[in-house]
Amino acid sequence: MAATGDYALWAWLAPGVSFLLLSLVVPLRRSGRPAAWLSIVFSAGALAGAVLAWRATVPDMARRILWEWIPVEDGVLTSVGVLADADSTLMLILVALVSFLVQVYSLGYLADEPPPSLGRYYAYQSLFAFSMMGLVLAPNFVQLFICWELVGLCSYLLIGYWYQRPEVARAAVKAFWVTKAGDVGFLIGIVMLWSRTGTFDFSELFEMAQGGSDALTGLGLVMAFIYLGAAGKSAQFPFHIWLPDAMEGPTPVSALIHAATMVTAGVYMLFRASFLFEQTPEVLHAVGWIGAFTALFAATMACVQADIKRVLAYSTVSQLGYMMAAIGAGFASAGFLHLLTHGVFKALLFLGAGAIIHAVGSNDIFAMGGLARRMPQTFVVFLIGTLSLTGIPFFAGFFSKEEILGATWAGGLTMPFAMLVLAAFLTAFYMFRVVFIAFFGAPVAAAAGAPAHGAHGAHDAAHAHDAPATMTVVLWVLGLLALAIGIGFARSYPESEFVAPGWITPLAIGVAVGGIALATAVYPLRWISPEWLARRLSVLGEAAHERFWLDDFFALVYRIGILGLSRIVGWIDRYIVDGILNVLSAWTLTAGDRLRRIQSGQAQDYIYGVALGVLLLMVWMRWPR
């Protein structure tokens, strides 16, 4: 029993050690592949530690290892350490697993990179794994927040991996800024919570919540601020705009950070703090509504994208919306379950997409086509991922998605429930649209879309072939895992916290099959031509293409709001603050100029002055009083 915390601690520290080695031992980092292998070995160790920690957990028992960090007069302000229980160790396994697999995959994907860049990449990867595990195991809000910022930093660094290209640098900065906007709210929320309760510690807060402490009443504003952080990190409307642009980073990074782990940090945090959110049903309601709206909203945008990674990015936003909706309905464990399964199959989809991009040399789905025959292995695993995401029975996503639908219905969120069902339909449609366009038919528009990064030379769909072994093996591992999870759930269905009506299961399968049927009718069979469909939905399609003008709106707000404010502040600074100082200094200068004249430079004049002064002093002393 005692071991679970220790295993978790070792799992957490392993990537930290490899990061320190890679960052401090410069020749090692610049050597490239040895650095990569070091990082991979350490992350394999982390994975082993995570699995051992999970196996050693006892139900309903949390094991804590704490070090006092900031001592104050009466006790300790905050500590660092690990809080290992069944949930955090499960999440730990997901993080360690995906991070390990992605690091192996990157060996193949980034094989053409120069050694120093590769070393830098693996140093960032190690730092990310370390920070993310610290976040997962955090026993209090302070450590959570610090690691939260660290993963944000890693996200920024890894999106900007090919920083020489201006649009990549811009995407990295955008991701950093948008999430930072939410993080400010998060920080305010944490501090407000502390000023109410006097503690950052999850266990102490949990005891307060159990005991019905007065300190936890009327926390609406506090929890809304904390939710803001989660909304920024987990790309909830209207903060979702950074995630599609983050796809400029290398595909393995997208799989790890922007699909499986970091973006789910917000969901995980809400899950972790769900006992606090339960005190504020009005905030939970808002979380549910925003989540469901995000799910639907992002799904519509995913339908019109031509870039395979962007389709997956919007799909991630949409699935994060699902998780948030379940949490908003009050059943956080349903959201957490979907987080875990989604982490597996979305990483699979991204890595599959990476294999395709690696082979074709383009992100554009219309430049692909007919890949099913040329890349059979990739096709099979990508199909497994797609079916999981769509929610077909016996695949990983089915149970968790149905759980979420049931949770929102049971939580009384009828309208969000309807939005989620519609989003599920769209999910099936857009995923199979990608599958049909990319894997069947012929390449429609070669080189029409944005080219992928320049490292791959002249590939095209006609000469595509399956990726090298390091990549393919990873794909198979994730694919089989997605299948295994699905079948495992089918054999022993996890017990729900709520009672969902029986018609939800057929409904979920129905909309998924309906979406697939529509995609089949439109793309391979051409019963309905895509052009006709686009014309009928021209307004919506146009709006979705333009991302519902949200990016433009933010740019406008930035131009008018921030720049306008800075202009006013600049005017005040220039003319009022500087003005007062300028007047003062001008007066001083004039006075100095006048006084200067009395200095004649003639020694005798000064003697006159001295003599006159002495005379005056004598008169003053002798003056009759």
Binding site: R596, R597, I598, Q599, S600, G601, Q602, A603, Q604, I607, Y608, A611
Partner: protein, 99 residues
């Protein structure tokens, strides 16, 4: 001779010296004026020493004379240097410190 006579002499001497310092155009003349003022002080010191019957005033006078000698030597050296550099020893022309 009373103390007052000595003091009057000293005051007159001091005033003559001060007048010289303030009005002479030549730097050497100014130095001479300073000498007169210092000697007026010496007369004062000696007069009071005699009046109080205390020798320390006289001792101080000896010190003053020594220092005066050094001061004059230094002053003359400066005047010579200034004359060499600026080709003049007239005080009105030495106004480099004019503001």
């Amino acid at each position: 001779m009373t103390l007052q006579a000595y003091l009057t002499l000293a005051a007159m001497l001091f005033c003559i010296g001060l007048f010289g310092v303030m009005t002479r155009r030549n730097t050497i003349g100014i130095l001479l004026g300073i000498e007169l003022m210092l000697n007026a002080v010496n007369i004062n010191l000696v007069a009071f020493a005699r009046y109080h019957g205390d020798v320390s005033g006289m001792v101080f006078t000896v010190f003053t004379i020594c220092i005066t000698v050094a001061e004059v030597a230094l002053g003359l050296a400066l005047v010579i240097l200034i004359y060499r550099i600026r080709r003049t020893a007239v005080a009105d022309h030495l106004d480099l410190l004019k503001g």
